[in-house]
Symmetry: C2
Subunit: 468 residues, 2 copies
């Protein structure tokens, strides 16, 4: 398919696209901070206006008990396939602020990178979608398929009300494929399509011993220290030799990879030194024996301790045996593992590991199932062709180690498969100080998306009649 | 020796003694809080005045780079033995304030207990010493021995400048015995003399992995989590079966108890249920196999984790692999163990336990040597007789699990043995909300101290001539 007309439009309007994005990024739409609730709303309103400007027929806010989402649509013909674009307009907090080299809400372009909070995650990628639609409509007057757009305002706080929203808006959100741009490519010049996400389930452990902090001189040696008990529990959950999680039954339901899947994981090049650098200069990699680093972080389940606390954390020393100690744990899950099942197995292992000289309480938090779109799904094939045309390289089919709750919700609630075509780069520092988005990726991504609509229009099954 | 004259004086003046103590306790001399520096000074000035009022010939403040101490003396005859009284006029902070049933600096007498911060630790016990001196001088016109008094203003912040003070004032502080009232009796009606204190040494461990917090979805399973590494280190330091510290060489220098010492430890009654209650209702005791609970907390060394931190500690979940994790550890030491030696052995064990996939840094903090006054020292015998006369029971010779730095300093710097005759009770809630001091103990303690001076005057070796 020829997209020269679309490319010409995009080329001519590059500076404006960037200027608009810069303005959008000035809005500090931090969903986690109640003080920024007004900014999240402003961000939604700005986005709805931009969707109308781009050519969506309708664009409106969808209110939730938390921050508003934006919904827009342009229904061309009920007989055409329908794609639903998902993204989010809220952003991560910015602390530690002192580590930013320029203020997070004063976007700067330095060395071809747009530096600010939200540049890559996910404002830049949402903006690309608007511009791809605008390119189609400005150049050709109409889209080749029906497009819907839902942009959430609570993704960075766990999509707290998105499940409710999907349930309430199930009819409007109906589509043949969900397209998500909220991830990174495998590397620069290495396009990739993410076809799987790990699930997640969170647990919190609290160990209590004495009813109050005890003087470690008076009581030390004679009672079990909750911090010692907790350390022993946490250390017991993984075997340091094999790197395997020791929770009985943890791996029981794991779908082993097919040869083709394993080959696909292995196809994407992996550079150990580069990985260690991206992973914050860790001295060495570590993980489950018998699996590559990529497999460990994407297609194998894991159990990670996200936080531990107890006792005195200030300067100097305070000689106490603390009354309690706690830890936060999340398990990453792969296909066929169920959050509730894994949580109950981890809970049982913790309860079995604890000494009778302390008490333990395990609380299970939110969970999200793993999702996997078949590697040969027409949407994956269409995205692959669009990427190859722009980047000149075959797109790797990758699986991501993280969880994107909305993708799991679309799958579970609407039966809607997702294709994740993201244009970030692995070093974008999302969620960290000095987040950036590569301007080249921004432009290339818009080109891919303009092509994707053409490809999907012919790949996805045509509808016989209008949606009911 | 007949002390009926002294008792009659004390009986007659009981209400005044309590009123004076109440006034002294109103001063919020919290040494840890710079905002209370003026109060600590006011407390010292009030105390110096009270020492003069009690009959000390001289009483003055000794300045330090921190809070002032008070020094007083009454030299009767250079040929008589000299005792040095040690105490402290600074107090612990009061947080959490909301847990106090009455304001910590508005002393109240409820059910025979004086309730306020510092009542038992150590203002009440210092005041007893002043009143015992006053009883002697008012009744008999002179003391039977020379008395010196040093009352520190920084005990609750680790006696930061007391070593300097001892070194600068070595001549003035010279004495035959140090008498300390800053501890509790074994129980109500169960007098005890503390003859030993454990030493202590502090360490801090920091484990670092990635240079920044990593997303646990993207990296989980592929790098070693510093919290997991730290938990493994901490869990490795003690054997959960035997309850023994596993650090190689940890017990090498421990002086095993003689049969008599072990019998002495066993003599003081121990009530498991009562202990568990005092220890904050712990579900069970726990410690080194082959030793009783009392031995575990007083004559055996231990290693306790005082605090652990790392990662996310707030509400909900944050899916990170933290860049670092840390812990504070203190070891309690018993005779012949040296703080520096134990610290280096613990450090070596930690460094040996750590995986190459993370880095570890161990910092050694302050240390204090264990001290032990021989069970048959004339000062111990004198205190024992004085206690028996007042309480009608033999005093247990106990050893305390905690460390009192000044006692170790007197031993190390001046070769001065200490006898710890404290009149608190085990449930005084020192360092905690609702600290109290039993009024009956206050009066009985004054009676013991008046007798102690008589007993020491005849027990301690007479001097042939004046101090040089």
């Amino acid at each position: 398919m020829n997209a020269r007309d679309l490319d010409a439009y995009c080329d001519a309007h590059q500076p404006r696209f960037v200027d608009e994005l810069v303005e959008f990024c000035r809005i500090p739409s931090i969903s986690a901070d109640p003080a920024h609730a007004g900014d999240v709303r402003r961000s939604a309103e700005r986005l709805a206006q931009a969707a109308r400007d781009a050519g969506f027929a309708t664009a409106e806010l969808i209110e939730t008990p938390g921050h508003p989402a934006v919904y827009a649509e342009r229904m061309v013909d009920p007989g055409l396939p329908t794609a639903l674009i998902y993204g989010h307009h809220d952003i991560q907090p910015v602390d530690p602020l002192e580590e930013w080299t320029s203020p997070p809400f004063e976007p700067r372009i330095v060395g071809g990178e747009l530096r600010c909070r939200g540049a890559a995650d996910d404002k830049g990628q949402v903006w690309m979608h608007l511009k791809a639609v605008q390119a189609h409509l400005s150049t050709r007057g109409e889209l080749p398929l029906n497009l819907k757009l839902v942009v959430e305002g609570e993704e960075e706080i766990g999509s707290a009300h998105f499940e409710q929203l999907i349930e309430a808006e199930a009819t409007r959100l109906r589509a043949d494929l969900c397209v998500v741009s909220d991830t990174a490519m495998h590397g620069r010049g290495q396009p990739s399509i993410c076809v799987g996400l790990r699930g997640v389930v969170a647990l919190e452990v609290e160990v209590t011993g004495p009813a109050l902090d005890l003087h470690s001189g008076e009581f030390g040696g004679a009672v079990l220290n909750p911090l010692e008990a907790l350390s022993r529990i946490l250390a017991s959950l993984r075997d340091p030799g094999s790197g395997r999680v020791t929770v009985p039954g943890f791996y029981d339901d794991v779908a082993e990879l097919t040869g083709e899947e394993r080959a696909q994981v292995a196809a994407a090049p992996f550079d150990e030194a580069a990985f260690r650098e991206v992973a914050g200069d860790v001295p060495a990699t570590f993980g489950e024996n018998g699996y590559t680093t990529t497999e460990r972080r994407t297609v194998r389940p894991t159990l990670e301790i996200n936080g531990v606390w107890g006792g005195y954390q200030g300067p100097g020393s305070k000689t106490i045996i603390p009354a309690r100690a706690g830890a936060k744990i999340t398990c990453r899950l792969v296909p066929r593992q169920q959050p509730e099942v894994i949580a109950s197995r981890v809970r049982a292992a913790i309860e079995a590991a604890v000494s009778a000289a302390v008490r333990v309480m395990v609380t299970v938090g939110d969970g999200s199932r793993p999702v996997l779109t078949p590697m040969h799904h027409p949407g994956v094939m269409a995205a692959s062709r669009a990427m190859k045309e722009v980047f000149g390289a075959d797109a790797y089919r990758t699986r991501a180690g993280g969880s994107i709750h909305p993708v799991e919700m679309f799958d579970r609630l609407l039966g809607l498969p997702s294709v994740l075509v993201g244009f970030g780069l692995p070093d974008d520092r999302i969620h960290a100080p000095n987040e950036k988005f590569d301007i080249g990726q921004f432009h290339a991504g818009i080109q891919v998306l303009t092509r994707l609509w053409d490809e999907l229009a012919v790949s996805l099954p045509k509808r016989a009649h209008a949606e009911s």
